[in-house]
Amino acid sequence: MTPIPLSLYVHIPWCVKKCPYCDFNSHQAKGEIPEAQYSDALINDLESELPQIWGRSIESIFIGGGTPSLYSAKAMDQLLSSLRERLTIRPNTEITMEANPGTFEQERFSAYRQAGINRLSIGIQSFNNKHLKALGRIHGANEAQKSTHIAKQAGFDNFNLDIMYGLPKQTIDQAIADLQQAIDANPTHISWYQLTIEENTLFHHSPPVTPNDEILWEMQQRGQKLLADAGYYQYEVSAYAKEGKQCRHNLNYWQFGDYLGIGAGAHGKISMPDGEIKRHTKYRHPEKYMGEGINGKARSSEKKLATEDLDFEFMLNAARLKEGFTKELFETRTLLSFSAVEEKLNTLIQKELIEYDNEKYKPTDKGWHFVNDIVNSFI
């Protein structure tokens, strides 16, 4: 049996300013970020988790936020060293850091690269000043453009651009122009996703006017064609990559792999040797997290995933993948027998939402647009 891959997620919870659409665990930085104190908490948090993952190597690391690029290069370097001391991290392991265009300086990014970060994910969102403002971003179109140059100059040959569409008052042409500009920057990966109004965000309380379904549909059709023509292969609902440049870290989520989460509000999912799958969550608020994390007590909750929820959680992720999944993947990741889902999959095949090519179950072109309906049948 192939072992279940294990990734590491590190959460840096601070931002210069909270964006009105963002529902991630981010907090406005007030003055200096307490880097040293936070890093200590991260390391103690990690150490308390080590017994859970004894002997397993780390397949990928993702440093997300918040805005991790608010961390100084030195602090980032120390943090990565501390991680290497405690974990088995092979050379060439994908180590991604999220960065926001408003925080780009050549020197610091070169230093990040030196520290061992080998992939960036840049939160561009749009190249249009009007839309950036509507999204509450701190950067403008110029900074957005500049950030991609800096990334390249700093030695990042593997980076992702986050672009959103369906922005308030956005026209189809504007959405396509944003995407074209992203493509022109020649990233290896583009995450192109529709603006979604999430609960617990400012937008949820006072929703902006966003384009109607027909416009969104047209944007999506044209955008997907544009990306495909430019050599970006769509491998997930919102993820497009040049050949061989899929995000290994995210792919591991979608293939229902394991991941350890450290940092404020981080989530983890670990398969235990006895066959149990556990989820854990860390304290969300940075102060609380640092207070508890320093004593290795950063977990706010831990729970065993109920057997009856496994199929749903697997599908929630795997049904998002263009390439779908094999029986083996399902069985090794959930430790359930495939018969648990076979009947439902067959119904979905009848409904032409899923197809089976004798190796993989994957969403059909139609199923691809109705992933929620696919997933819903496993609740």
Partner: protein, 601 residues
């Protein structure tokens, strides 16, 4: 001839909803110390949750209380609580006929309402002594003079010595009891004559079997005696008799004039029907008491479990409800669209709502209920007459000689300023005015109305056009031929039998259009276009279209908080709970009731 106990008083309270029947009865129990303070839960008599929530009594109940009068005598009062809604007029008449008198309780700030009038007439017909009572006199808006006049003018009973009370504060309650004892006559009846006991109500108790509430008119009914309901002549041995104080208290026998319960090893309430007469096997009465009727349901609707797996559960639930509700009729029905379910017959709309609510609440069933319809009589070209309980059963046009629809005679009472609105509504509903009386500020309107129009949305409309002031009561009058047609609804070209309606020809076009439009609003966008059409026979009279949903997919999902994603999806899924898959289209419950909630604009 022996005489029944002359210190007994059997009475009912006639009151409109919210006019204070329950508060007054609670006061009676308090004054007569039927329950200790600790046992007093407000409104003791309305024991079902739904009754309490809606403030309506569904089942008849009774309380026996001992009242020590100022004249030194102790009187034995039997208060028989009657169901308080137009759907249950037969039950009301049976409850009333168990009494010698009734208190007409009128809210002194509101005045007389149609339902009280109807019940009051029933009481007068049954020769009851009606004692008018003005309640809520503590309210600043109380207008004793006006309301007394209304009672005299509308009901025609002397209201000069109406008793003024406040159930809330307790003012006048003792005086009311004294007056009750004085003015309501004692029971007649002969304790030595052969047994005649009127069944006021029957219900099923899990431990005791069927419990019947009875009024002994003549004779006695005691433990171990053998009795039979006179309509069936089936013999039962009496296990137990007694009274409610309101706690159940066993006695050796119930004697002429008394009200109490009888338990006789009966397993099915059909065997102890409301209005039937118990007599003894050994020395039976010659004739049963007057007024017994087999009650027929008037409103029918299909009920289908959302999940086919629940069919058996629905059957069990109906069996159980039927244990306590003989007026509920049901038989299996198969719909092409909705699968296996039941056709249920109800006394009226309220009865239907109550049953639906109980099935969902107490038995946790997800049901699709079709729009209610009435019974049509169809005379076929072959000369047969058939009853149609379900629009889908209507024969093809070429087999129909004549369709007859049920017509009711409705009484509406409304303040003058709304008369115009009410008349317009009645005309719109194909009503024919029979009588109009101005009495004080109140106007009484008598209309013949097709029951199908009343079932539709008449109550709601009447309330809204009269700002809630109109009250309404009705009884079935006759069947009448009418030019009726069946309108079918087609979803993606397939007729959905459960959506068919029978309507007057003149309304068929407009109703078809409205219905299609309503369907378009309630049917959610699906993965494909949904075409909705209304048709009479082969003619399409209206059409509309629900455009396909483009996509349903969450943009972002990166490990993280699965529980929140799950909750969102669960919400989405819960929204589909009350949907029924017809062909490959998901149709929500509202669609089946869309015919009821027509938008008049």
């Amino acid at each position: 001839m022996a005489l029944a106990n002359q210190n007994i008083r059997n009475f009912s309270i006639i009151a409109h909803i919210d006019h204070g029947k329950s508060t007054i009865s609670d006061r009676f129990i308090q004054v007569c110390e039927g329950l200790t303070e600790r046992e007093m839960d407000n409104q003791v008599l309305d024991s079902m949750d739904i009754e309490r929530e809606r403030g309506i009594t569904i089942k008849a109940q009774s309380v026996s209380l001992d009242f020590k009068s100022k004249d030194g005598e102790t009187y034995h009062l039997n208060f028989i609580d009657t169901p308080g809604h137009v759907d249950f007029s037969y039950e009301v008449s049976r409850s009333l006929s168990a009494c010698e008198g009734a208190l007409l309780v009128v809210d002194a700030s509101q005045g007389v309402e149609a339902q009280s009038v109807a019940n009051c007439y029933t009481a007068i017909d049954l020769d009851l002594e009606v004692v008018p009572v003005l309640n809520k006199i503590d309210l600043p808006a109380a207008d004793v003079f006006r309301v007394s006049q209304e009672i005299e003018e509308i009901i025609g009973i002397d209201a000069t010595d109406a008793i003024h009370v406040s159930g809330k504060t307790g003012i006048g309650i003792e005086d009311l009891l004294e007056q009750l004892v004085e003015r309501i006559p004692p029971p007649q009846g002969d304790p030595e004559a052969p047994l005649k006991a009127l069944i006021i109500d029957s219900w099923f108790d899990n431990y005791l079997g069927v419990v019947s509430l009875v009024r002994v008119i003549d004779g006695k009914i005691g433990k171990k005696s053998k009795v039979m309901p006179m309509s069936t002549k089936a013999e039962y041995q009496v296990d137990n008799v007694g009274i409610f104080t309101p706690k159940r208290v066993e006695k050796n026998e119930l004697v002429a004039g008394e009200v109490g319960y009888v338990i006789a090893g009966i397993k099915d309430i059909e065997a102890a029907k409301v209005g039937d007469t118990f007599t003894t096997v050994k020395n039976p009465a010659e004739k049963p008491l007057d007024g017994f009727k087999e009650i027929q349901p008037r409103v029918f609707a299909g009920m289908f479990p959302v999940s086919a797996d629940d069919y058996e559960n629905l059957r069990d639930a109906l069996d159980k409800l039927h244990l306590n509700d003989a007026s509920l009729h049901y038989e299996p029905e198969t719909s092409q669209a909705l699968g296996f379910g039941f056709r249920l017959g109800f006394l009226g709309m309220l009865h239907m709502e109550i049953v639906q609510e109980r099935l969902e609440r107490e038995y946790d069933l997800d049901l699709i209920t079709t729009a209610p319809s009435v019974v049509y009589e169809v005379e076929t070209t072959k000369g047969e007459t058939i009853s149609i309980h379900n629009p889908a059963e209507l024969p093809a046009v070429n087999y129909i000689e004549e369709i007859r629809e049920p017509i009711i005679r409705g009484t509406i009472m409304v303040p003058q300023e709304y008369v115009g609105n009410v008349i317009s509504l009645c005309i719109e509903k194909r009503g024919i005015q029979k009588e109009m009386k101005y009495l004080g500020n109140q106007v009484t309107l008598d209309y013949l109305l097709p029951l199908s129009e009343v079932v539709l949305d008449f109550f709601d409309r009447l309330k809204s056009v009269s700002r809630g002031y109109a009250s309404f009561d009705y009884e079935l009058d006759h069947f009448e031929p009418a030019p009726l047609v069946k309108v079918d609804i087609l979803i993606n070209g397939e007729p959905v039998d459960a959506l068919s309606i029978i309507v007057h020809k003149d309304f068929s076009q407009s109703r078809g259009r409205v219905l299609v439009e309503r369907m378009r609003e309630v049917i959610q966008r699906q993965m494909f276009d949904v075409a909705i059409q209304a048709a009479i026979g082969g003619n399409i009279i209206a059409r509309s279209n629900v455009k396909a949903l483009r996509k349903n997919v969450t943009a972002k999902c990166y490990g993280g908080d699965v529980s929140r994603k799950r909750k969102l999806l669960e919400k989405q899924k819960a929204g589909k709970k009350r949907m029924k898959q017809v062909g490959n289209v998901e149709i929500p419950q509202e669609a089946f009731l869309a015919v009821l909630k027509r938008d008049e604009n």
